[in-house]
């Protein structure tokens, strides 16, 4: 009996459709990915059971770092043509008699990172190179004599009335400082806000005691 001849095939697979699909996925993920903004100070957020995702737009973030420095950040609003950040900085400058140049305002608009800089050093901070910025990050003054955080909040809400406040605090920040920040919030009539937390599910066992 003659043997059945198995046709000799090369083990070559056409990978083109797979590559196509992969490129598509890659493009999708790259475009949708929101890069984690660089933090001037590492912050360990506490856990909670809340599953509400933090909003992307219209937020002002008050970061309280472990070393008691307070940082502030605000976004440009839902649309880039709104230019919220430069407007807020301009208002802030007006209050302290500092005139920011259009270049400085533009730079501030583009670089949306949390800052903990005294407004009086802001010009130097904006002009400094990226690796020299850290020495200006001493934390925003929050004392009652020089309450710059309060002013940042005030002007952010003046420019963008729908801005929501979000507190991002470190686990180990002592309560009196938190209280100070909360007092500033209440002072500015900012009574509803959110705390950034990480998700941790909790099961509650409710045994009936008799």
């Amino acid at each position: 009996m003659p043997k059945i001849k198995i046709p000799h095939k090369t083990p070559h697979v056409d990978m083109t459709p797979m590559v196509d699909l992969f490129s598509l996925l890659l493009t999708f993920f790259m475009l949708t990915a929101t890069m984690k903004p660089s933090e001037p100070a590492p912050v360990d957020t506490p856990f909670s059971i809340s599953e509400k995702p933090s909003p992307d737009k219209n937020i002002m973030t008050i970061t309280i770092a472990k070393d008691n420095r307070v940082f502030f950040n605000v976004d440009n609003g839902p649309d880039t043509i709104l230019h919220f950040r430069p407007k807020i900085l301009e208002e802030m400058g007006k209050r302290y008699n500092i005139v920011f140049t259009p270049q400085e305002l533009r730079y501030f608009e583009k670089n949306s990172v949390p800052f903990g800089v005294n407004i009086k050093e802001f010009k130097a901070y904006l002009a400094a190179k990226d690796n020299e910025k850290a020495k200006f990050e001493k934390g925003i003054p929050i004392d009652s004599t020089d309450n710059q955080l309060g002013l940042w909040i005030l002007f952010s809400r003046k420019v963008n009335p729908s801005a929501q406040a979000v507190i991002k605090g470190d686990n180990d920040v002592e309560y009196p400082l938190v209280k100070k920040v909360l007092d500033i919030f209440q002072d500015k009539n900012l009574n509803r806000f959110s705390l950034i937390t990480s998700l941790q599910k909790v099961e509650v066992v409710e045994e009936a005691k008799k």
Binding site: F29, S48, S54
Partner: protein, 222 residues
Amino acid sequence: MAEIIQEDKHKGGKKKPKKHSTAIDMTPMVDLMCLLITFFMLTTAFAKPKVMEIALPEKIKKNEKVEPPKIAESRTLNIIMGPNDKVYWYPGKADPAALVPLRETNFSATGIRQVLLDRNRALFKKIETFKADVTAGKINIRQDSVQSAIRQLKKTDDTGPIVLIKFYKKAKYKNFVDIIDEMSIVGIAIYIVTDIDWLEQNMVERALGIPLTATAPPTAKK
């Protein structure tokens, strides 16, 4: 033109252009793309932080006289956050004449949660059965109105405790988030974050066994 042809002739067609196959080995490219996709998928999924909403009472203006709200002493539960994640609690009102001892507990499942749950059992059960009914399909309600329905349940409740949350000065931000989180886990209807009293401060210090720092304010009552 002519020159080029000439040159070709010199070589005499000895060299044939090598025939390359049009198939490219795409394996390294696919490898790299796999890697990148995995990277982006993982980073996008975990980058989103969660938020916990909180509302503070409106600040009372200096020259505005507001009567402090009257609350039933029997329903009041005071929780004081101490240092090192300690939690102290006592029911009712602190009286300098008859000091109630602080009870110490912690953030474990059998700690402060059990205390709150014991007092809030009626409301907690109501919320849990409501949630179960919604999942089982017994109650036909839109998903986005579930939260407001629960809020309504909380509003009409009059059995649960009124929790006053206070912080000793050495408490951490973590405790602040944890205790408010406990409130939502147990479904406490009314809770207030308020300032610590000098008396309570002393109570905590006595419980810790450290010298007392707070003294009674000179005027009897503000």
